[in-house]
């Protein structure tokens, strides 16, 4: 095992454990994570396999394929988070607005 394989695997293991502890009650999430971590482990242990997949998809290197997929995933996550933030902002606005109207005062 090369040092980079060791670093990546331990990082992955740590993240997996962390998520498992937090989300163990949500079966679908845990399953999805399991698939994700299994794929990652396989490609870390057998980097050449990613090259084979990449070639089949018309990409030169396995590492490049992973990089491209990560960009797509990243954009997806950003949009998802953004829509969540917008919803939260609207909720916060509603709360503050209600409070404001409740506390409205006639001044003279």
């Amino acid at each position: 095992m090369t040092p980079i394989q060791f670093i990546l695997l331990s990082g992955l293991l740590f993240t997996a454990l962390y998520f498992y502890v937090r989300f163990r009650n949500r079966v679908a999430d845990v399953l999805l994570l399991l698939v994700f971590f299994a794929t990652a482990t396989v490609f870390i242990l057998f980097p050449d396999w990613s090259n084979i997949v990449a070639h089949k998809l018309g990409v030169g290197r396995g590492a490049d394929l992973v990089f491209y997929l990560c960009i797509v995933l990243f954009v997806f996550v950003v949009l998802k988070l953004y829509s969540r933030i917008r919803k939260l902002e609207q909720l916060l606005t509603e709360l503050i607005r209600e409070k404001t109207i409740e506390e409205a005062e006639k001044q003279d």
Binding site: L79, Y82, T93, R97, T100, A104, E105, Q107, D108
Partner: protein, 227 residues
């Protein structure tokens, strides 16, 4: 129409004594005045001493759009007939309000926008501002199909029915365009009326920079995506 049923909503954020002058000019006309303090860090009530106005305060700063919506909602609850949005920085003139609300009273329009490009103050608009506003009106046109002469004028008047149909969700400055979305969506009758804009050093300081215009565009695109 009773003037006390015409509500003037003024969003306020860290203003100075200009606020008092603005409120006084409206106060003498007999309108009901709703001040929405958008979480100012300085006490704003000191400018309103001895003036009978409704004072609302956001606990935190949410933006001008959110303040207008709060003031509008409050006015509806208090039984307003007409709601006018008015800037605190003294760039609008109280004398324009009767002209602005006339089409609402005669049922010719549901919402009336003030336009600085239709009136005499046209020639006083700073050059850079003119260009930005012109770009903005075409961007609004692209988004809504409505081409106004003035894209971001803070002076507008709505009937209660119009105010009830629209809810400003854009908390910051994109609300001016968002209102056009609503006009389009709910098929509201709209009209533009020439109004005066008084450019002072203070109103320029308080006004929008080019950078903020870019922020508005960004908010608009996201609005289209997520609404």
């Amino acid at each position: 129409m009773q003037k006390s049923r015409i509500f003037i909503v003024i969003p306020v954020f860290n203003e100075n004594n200009v606020l008092r002058e603005t409120v006084l000019s409206l106060f003498h006309e007999g309108y009901r005045i709703v001040i929405v303090d958008d979480g100012s860090t300085e006490n704003q009530k000191k400018y309103l001493e001895n003036l009978e106005v409704d004072f609302l305060r956001h606990r935190i700063n949410l933006g001008q759009g959110a303040s207008l919506q709060t003031g509008t909602k409050f006015s509806l609850m208090q039984g307003a007939d007409i709601i006018v949005h008015f800037d605190a920085d003294g760039q609008h003139s109280a004398k324009d309000i009767p002209l602005l609300i006339e089409p609402l009273i005669s049922r010719k329009a549901d919402i009336v926008f003030g336009s600085r490009f239709l009136g005499e103050s046209k020639n006083k608009i700073p050059f850079a501002k003119k260009i930005v506003l012109n770009i903005a009106r075409y961007i609004n046109f692209l988004f809504t199909g409505i081409l106004l002469t003035d894209a971001h004028n803070g002076l507008r008047a709505l009937t209660i029915d119009a105010a009830k149909t629209l809810t400003i969700k854009e908390n910051r400055m994109a609300h001016a365009s968002e209102i056009l979305f609503w006009v389009k969506k709910k098929n509201l009758k709209y009209k533009e009326i020439p109004v005066q804009i008084i450019y002072t050093e203070y109103s320029k300081k308080k006004g929008q920079t080019i950078w903020q215009s870019i922020r508005i565009l960004y908010d608009l695109i996201l609005h289209k995506f997520f609404e």
